[in-house]
């Protein structure tokens, strides 16, 4: 077990190293120069060249790469070109909204999707099953920016129940900040509940057809117990996988929703950083997201051990 985790951690570092190398190359291949952007439309080429020199962007790419890797190994991801702050600090500030947003939306997705998925599988072919599948398809097909705009317009602007956007001003406390996350969480929760619902239903259907379920029933076990104790426990592994993946996707991919609701999270940061060509921030964010992705995958695999005693590593 310890050996397994150790091996996975080594693998994780290799993945992250590859990601950071690719990130480094790709952002520098993209045309567009941070210095020109920072100085504004009327700045001259000479001004931009001087700023590039000050930022160290005129050094050979290999020198920039080696210094970046050398510093990254020591936990120093450099300084944001735009914020004049260490990248680690910039990223730390952005991770809180994203993590809470991901957790909230995952919670919403689970609360909606698992019971309906289980029930739909149990009553396969019934009206509710059909309705659940159709709704799930609809929910998955509607773009999240549209749902976001609608919720924003009707629940926030017209009814005034929620803030339209942002993450609170200087005098907002933790609870108030969380309130800002409710609408975007619902948007992401709806989208992701569709996926989880379909997985739960499919996984439950497989298990409900197994011999031991028939045996349990023939022994006179109550339906509720059969479904919730026997079937659900065994159907859980694929569900955990998809929940893990969903969470990882949420952390890395809430870009549109963060943009629409103007949440200063990682997704929003990455988009702005790309538009600003803030190389160190793009690299740093990719490293953090890649690490989270790999870490969540590892945790998902470890969770299998808890759920199913037959799994051994």
């Amino acid at each position: 077990m310890a050996r397994y985790i150790f091996k996975r951690l080594i693998g994780m570092m290799i993945v992250i190293f590859i990601v950071l190398t690719i990130a480094f190359i790709i952002v520098r291949l993209a045309p567009g120069d941070p210095a020109t952007l920072m100085l504004g439309p009327d700045a001259t080429a000479e001004d931009a060249a001087a700023l590039r020199q000050r930022l160290g962007l005129d050094r050979p790419i290999l020198v920039q790469y080696l210094s970046f890797v050398g510093n990254a190994v020591q936990g120093d991801l450099g300084e944001s070109l735009f914020f004049n702050q260490p990248v680690t600090q910039v990223l730390a500030a952005r991770s809180e909204p994203t993590i809470f947003l991901s957790l909230f939306s995952l919670l919403i997705a689970l609360v909606i999707a698992t019971p309906i998925g289980i029930y739909a599988a149990y009553r396969r072919g019934s009206f509710l099953d059909q309705a659940a599948i159709t709704t799930a398809m609809l929910a998955a097909s509607i773009p999240s920016f549209w749902t976001g705009l609608m919720l924003q317009r009707y629940l926030a602007t017209d009814l005034g129940w929620f803030p339209v956007s942002g993450y609170g001003g200087p005098d907002t406390g933790f609870l108030e900040r969380m309130r800002y996350l409710l609408l975007p969480s619902i948007v992401l929760g709806i989208v992701n509940s569709a996926l989880i619902l379909r997985f739960t239903r499919a996984s439950m259907l497989d298990i409900l057809g197994e011999d031991y379920i028939r045996t349990a029933r023939s022994k006179g076990m109550g339906e509720r117990r059969v479904v919730l104790r026997h079937a659900l426990k065994n159907a859980a592994i694929p569900i955990i996988t998809v929940v893990g993946l969903t969470f990882a996707l949420l952390v890395s991919g809430a870009v549109v929703t963060e943009r629409v609701f103007n949440i200063p999270g990682m997704g929003n940061l990455v988009v702005s950083a790309v538009l600003r060509r803030d190389y160190p921030v793009i690299q740093g964010a990719l490293i953090v997201v890649a690490s989270l992705y790999v870490l969540i995958n590892l945790l998902t695999d470890l969770l299998y051990l808890v759920v199913d005693k037959r799994v051994k590593y």
Binding site: P31, L37, G40, V90, G160, S165, P170, V260, N262
Partner: protein, 509 residues
Amino acid sequence: MESRLLTRASLLAAFMAGPAMAAPLAAQTTLDVAIIGEADTFDPMMSTKDVVSIVTQHFVETLYTFDSGWNVAPLLATEMPQISDDGLTYTIGIREGVTFHDGSSMDAKDVVASLERWLEVASRGKLVADKVASIEATGDYEVTITLTEAYSPLLSLLAFSNSAAAIYPEETIAETIDPVIGTGPYKIAEHVPDQYLQLVRYDDYSSRSEEPDGAAGARNQIVDEIRFVPVPDPNTRVEGLLSGQFDFADGLPAESYDRLDSSDVADPMLLQPFGWPVFAINHKEGLLTDKTTRQALQAALPMDDMLFAAFGDDKFFLTDGPLYPEGWAWRNDAGAELFNQNDQARAAELLQEAGYDGTPLRILTSRQYEFHFKMAEVARMALEAAGFTVQMDVVDWATLGERRNDPALWDIYISHSPFLPEPSLTDMYSKTSRLGWSNPEKDEILAEFTSETDPEKRKELYAQLQGQVFEDVGFIKIGAFNALSGMAEGLTGVTETPWPFFWNAESAE
């Protein structure tokens, strides 16, 4: 159990109700202003971006500023300078009793150090740097600028909030200034990048005493706090304004006009005209170095259609040729008959005369500003009808910003600008700009224009310069467009300007 439930219920209620449940602050007035993005720097010398100007003018000041008629007016200077008859010496009195936000008082030494830095690092400062012989403190509260040749745009440059000649304490002057300390009516309290910039009233502010007039005159600090919130998505700015979350929102999409107009929470604020879209022309290399080809280009363009495609409703644009709008001192009609010819047959003749060989005309544009792209699309059709082969290079703004510096990569790039108070603030007239527009006649007019100090003569010279823009097709103005902002009902005292400011603003909340 019951009490736990109750606690939970009340927590939930507090959570849902949010600020409504919070104890009211003691009559603290705050203005929440949604801006289009984060200001990259708080040092306005270092940037020509409008968003930087908008934000920084609240805490950093300059010697001069502009009144509502875009005339230069004193701000940190006591009055307008004494200019020697030969136009070479500017003696500027500095106001006494002005303190910086760190408590230190401002004197001539701070001004000299700041202006020297401005000449060295600011794009617009560099425009005059080679004409400045010296900047000296000629008294505790007097500064003398000596020029090597007369340069009439100097005062406008000193007054502009963009690439601004900001006045900082001498001790803070360095390559980068951090934190930024100014003399403005508000000072920085907290900045959380991409979330908000909180400005609070500077209690020791020393205001001018004249009636407020544009950015000139008294700067009254009516609200206690101004919070600038970067909101990149335009729809989110609209919703935020309509929900009451913001008191002012800048850069709103034209389509939101009717919603704002019919709302009882907010009102539209149409700045007409705001500015002009421009097709910048490459005079250094390629197809358009040929004058007849440029004239063919100018003849073919249908400005009405381009503007309509770009702005959708004539509430938001004006098909207007002269380079300055109605009501401005610089307005004149020279050459304007060549505007909006929409004559593809004439263009085809000119192309034939030029011996055009079908080399693609490369239009560099971006979709960051959707109206640029839409104008380019309509232009393409007209140009193709005239016989041009057109190649559209649609890139993001960052890429455009870089590519336009290389004359080998484009023939036209599309940009836009607010109407600037002084023509020389637009560098497109200058042969050293990235357009590289130069001919002996124009260069001579420009040299005379920038050294002439008599306002009437300057107007005449400017008319000649505008004539050159059309005659030689230096660059192409497409028209004028309006900008939409919005403000909460009950907000008063906000001047209509491309760079809105909120001293003197009063909220009815």
